[in-house]
Symmetry: C2
Subunit: 350 residues, 2 copies
């Protein structure tokens, strides 16, 4: 019998946003890796690629030409996962085990820059502010459509995340239902707010700022940290210091601070393995169902797959799919490693 | 306004086991693929590989020699995710947001065959029966340990599933807590059983056998089907016809039938893209906490990542991580495609 040492002993941690657990096995970090290596492509990209369907003035799959855009550029996804059609649907065709409901929605692609070769960490703060403006505009416009109740802004970056084009871009899927993960999050936020009168993330952030160990970056308005319950080796969350629910609630200063922390965090990510760091990221914010949603607290998740080098990722497979998420290195250690990274992009150093 | 056509219109389906939804976008199936291709290795393997740490008589990382085993062979994982140590742990060190609990457990590796080059679909039925006997023995023995309340039997197959060694093997992680996915499943099974007096899967299977469209294989004691709420393109479930909770409840006939359906299903998988089909699979069964668990119904999940060829997988990324699982092809179509596959392994044809 020994006393519990959270830095060394296997344990489970609780995620109060999703009401789920993660298995942490710190002692397993030293496992040798004999499995699959990811392909690393580090060839420099051209500023404009004539074969890229996202570059200005090029032709897309549907024959339409992109405009000669200068900042960001938004268009409807040519292969949208949802359609806008209104579907007649009778509840009584539903059986206990075969519950299906039509879903309406709009999928858009957001090009971050006309430059084929620039990613977030390499852009100017003012260019990132421009992307934030685009996100605000889309959230407001899509959210104003009567049947749209939720707007998911996200980015898949890197071929290991299924991204087929290195041109910097993200996506927006806006739809009538709350997706599963968002609904779970909302339930947790709501029951916390009803009980304590603060948002869950307001109190969580306060506790994290006091502890300091999991903080990666802090500025006047935002904090980037590795959550206590992170499942991916270098998972982070950006949380606003002020409690508000929507990207459209940003003050002008907050918009600049958010652009700054986005740049700084992605610089640290790139520097970690001297590679264009792959991830899926996305903003969780209040539904656009017309309700006030005081329980919501703006935040952005980063889920990066890499584990120990640019070519070795964490596999969320058998046990994780059937049992629960599992990680080796502790979130505290990941945070320390990220914090240590230079604030100057490695490409700028040389 | 049109009437809902579940084969063509985007919709969401409900998973009653996990209480989650999946977004289905059948019209998106024709999307061109420009993203990452997986590596295909089709070089024939030797029957014994002197560099393989799982082959009989070879040396493992910790210096121990494997015996000259003939059927299956089980050993404690040299890099186990949990430890058996009893940890002293005081509840009062827990704060609202920093909830962590030590977790005890045992991780084992199960070699399916001394032959380095044989996978389940290529083995004899009697050899698969032998693996089933090993699973039964492990479930019983590990489950009998006082602090072990759940035994997860699973297999990661293929480098795309993070499996570092082609030698046929699976794993067993036995632990004191119910992992997240299992606890969710148990809650669903329990509330259904309390309400209807049948197991959820007993009634679900009855409804599926009546519909026929999602059935892949049926024999006297088991059914392999693509669940109505499948998230992976070719996800399947093997469900026992009789309602029982544990692999140790098999009659002798059921053991033979289970071996047979395992072989047939994995043959169809291999034939689909003429490749050794990667997947994570695992058995969900009753906890080993000493309670009766009449609500549990034995089943096995197969989560294969491939989408449209041996080298193109489905990426569960941005929207899926932040929103909810999404699929293109309908489960009905996947089931029809799997059903059509020959029952003779493609390697035997030539
Ligand atoms: O145990 P292995 O084969 O070393 O590791 C593999 O399976 C484990 C259980 O699903 C995962 O946690 C690992 O990420 C994966 O690489
Ligand atoms: O929309 P894309 O880039 O074609 O597709 C990518 O992102 C989607 C949303 O996360 C996923 O559903 C796809 O599996 C992935 O390949």
């Amino acid at each position: 019998m020994r006393n519990f040492n959270i830095n060394e002993d296997p344990h489970r941690r609780y995620n109060p946003l999703l009401n789920e657990w993660v298995l942490v096995s710190p002692h397993r970090e030293k496992r040798p890796w004999q499995g699959q290596n990811e392909l690393i492509t580090s060839e420099p990209l051209p500023k404009h690629d004539s074969t890229c369907y996202l570059c200005p003035e090029n032709v897309r799959a549907n024959g339409i030409n992109n405009p000669k855009y200068e900042g960001s550029f938004v268009f409807d996804n040519d292969f949208a996962a949802m359609k806008q059609d209104e579907i007649i649907y009778e509840e009584d065709i539903v059986y206990t085990f075969f519950l299906a409901k039509p879903e309406r929605g709009i999928s858009r692609v957001v090009c971050f820059s006309p430059r084929h070769d620039l990613t977030l960490p390499e852009m100017e703060i003012k260019d990132i502010e421009n992307i934030i403006k685009t996100w605000q505009k889309e959230y407001a416009e899509l959210g104003a459509i009567k049947y749209i109740n939720y707007v998911q802004i996200f980015e898949n970056k890197g071929s290991v995340m299924g991204c087929s084009n290195p041109h910097p871009h993200g996506q927006i899927w806006a739809q009538s239902s709350l997706p599963t993960q968002v609904e779970k999050t909302q339930n947790s936020l709501k029951s916390y707010f009803d009980k304590y009168g603060n948002t869950l993330l307001q109190d969580y952030l306060k506790a994290e700022l006091k502890k300091e160990t999991r903080i990666v970056i802090e500025n006047d308005h935002f904090v980037a940290l590795v959550p206590f319950w992170a499942i991916w080796p270098y998972e982070t969350m950006i949380i606003s210091k002020r409690a508000f629910g929507r990207i459209t609630d940003f003050t002008e200063e907050e918009a600049v601070s958010f652009a700054t922390i986005l740049k700084q965090l992605t610089i640290k990510y790139d520097n970690l393995f001297s590679t264009s760091f792959p991830y899926s990221s996305g903003i969780h914010q209040a539904p656009t169902d017309g309700n006030e949603h005081l329980e919501w607290h703006f935040h952005m998740h980063f889920y990066p797959p890499l584990l120990r080098s640019a070519s070795v990722k964490k596999f969320m497979v058998g046990y994780e799919m059937l049992g629960e998420s599992q990680r080796d290195m502790t979130p505290e250690k990941s945070a320390a490693i990220l914090r240590e990274q230079s604030n100057v992009h490695y490409k700028m150093e040389s």
